[in-house]
Amino acid sequence: MTDLTSLTIAEAREGLTNKSFTARELTDAHLAAIEAARVLNAYVLETPDRAREMADAADKQIGKGEGGPLAGIPLGIKDLFATRDIRTTACSKILGNFVPPYESTVTSQLWRDGAILLGKLNNDEFAMGSSNETSCFGPVVNPWRREGSNTHLVPGGSSGGSASAVAALLCMGATATDTGGSIRQPAAFTATVGVKPTYGRCSRWGIVAFASSLDQAGPIARTVRDSAILMRSMAGHDPKDTTSVNIGVPDYEAAIGKSVKGMKIGIPKEYRLDGMPAEIEKLWSDGAAWLKAAGAELVEVSLPHTKYALPAYYIVAPAEASSNLARYDGVRYGLRVPGRSIGEMYENTRADGFGDEVRRRVMIGTYVLSAGYYDAYYLRAQKVRTLIKKDFEDCFAKGVNAILTPATPSAAFGVGEKGGADPVEMYLNDIFTVTVNMAGLPGIAVPAGKDAQGLPLGLQLIGRAFDEETLFSLGEVIEQAAGHFTPPRWW
């Protein structure tokens, strides 16, 4: 029997239905893999007892022929999703030993469909970061290494634990969240598939809030098909999230293998940056050639406000974060550091509980919302956001079905290599992904090749609002042409 952890979700689903193996066997194989891979620091909490309990329940359901769409599939959950009676920290010291008495809507739908919880996955503190180095549990290690080198590389962030665990076969798929690129950038760094759905497609209820108008949950998996399978369970209307949209959830898997003939694919000229590495240029033109060979038509498009997306993001996101994170005051949950007065208690708690990156963003957010600066910064940024969204609308109005871009400006970098002197250096990682959040559109990152050092690189497809299906069809074409990339096991 092949190693159960290397199966795709689609293959495991078949094996479970055919009784080639049980959910319990599949789960035990993953629990053993997790134990042997602790050096990666992908999991911040392993839940083997819960996993085995859920696996046995899934086996019973499958035995009766009543298994749900994800029956017996072991998953990892980003520690930003509240899981009932299981510690949830957002990888921040300020949440301490928070044990939610409730379950996030997205994870509750995964359990409804029969999936199994293996444990909670590492992420940047409150999802603020692009390398998973801001986590209070320490950095995650990318299973990929440069050829001939032992240097530890970052898996990207903020969903670094999710990407690393999926790439290293420590779960069959994982939940993640994306505020500026936090699903797609780590997917690109680890040769996994990451989907950032349209804003409003997945409920935000029960997910620790970072920037509420940008946050969106989505899956990371090893194939486009697997990501489509997970999306179907994660998506859907939720009355508890006022921005959740009440439209039907399609069978995303049915979009896999659908012809892309005649589709118009936009190639935005503004994404061709000065000094872009030749291998990223090549990856991009390879991707365009594959789509063309599949019958799609390539057209050059213009998104004139692209360069303003990242600076506008660094006003809007910290502003919303400063408001959302006001709740961490040492009163109702998490850490409390005493003070002589209640004000001093708040200040001491927040000084000790927040890491450097979170403190920086809360402070900049406080500043841009403060009296006298609101119009100059926040209001202007929200106007620029309207223009960014309009760029995309104009482009789609001309009949463009999707837009093809590189996912990241480089491959994975070393732990401690970036952002030490200037925080902006780290922020530039999200230059190709952040526009999508600003406009509320869906995006998918698909592995497409390797750089000269043998590290994976990804392509991004951006779709029309609520048309994730087209992204799955196009993503499948790229995956078929580029093939699969698996990191050699060294841990």
Binding site: A312, R332, N348, R350, A351, F354, R360, V362, M363, S370
Partner: protein
């Protein structure tokens, strides 16, 4: 625009984060690096542009004004650092 040391202390106070004197110069440098980065937005012509207020155009949802949850006081205080009889305890506020 850039911030001086006094403004950094003022922001920290508004954000309710204790910042020591020794940390101020470093924080000032970081905040100014971010402000320099976002400065390029001033070159965008936003004349007559509406600020984005809703990501997805949709009618605001309203729910019935009814009690549909409650009686979970134990759950509510379960994670609090200090409680007494279903109340959150804080340092003395009123003399």
């Amino acid at each position: 625009m850039s911030v001086d040391a006094t403004t950094v202390r003022r922001i920290a106070q508004l954000a309710r984060i204790a910042v020591s004197e020794a940390e101020v110069p470093h924080l000032q440098g970081e905040l100014n690096a971010m402000l320099a980065f976002v400065e390029q937005l001033s070159e965008v012509n936003v004349e007559g542009v509406e600020p984005m207020t809703s990501v997805t155009p949709m009618e605001m949802k309203k729910r019935a004004d009814v009690v549909n949850d409650g009686e979970i006081a134990d759950d509510i205080v379960r994670n609090a650092p200090a409680t007494e009889n279903h109340f959150f305890l804080v340092p003395k506020v009123v003399e």
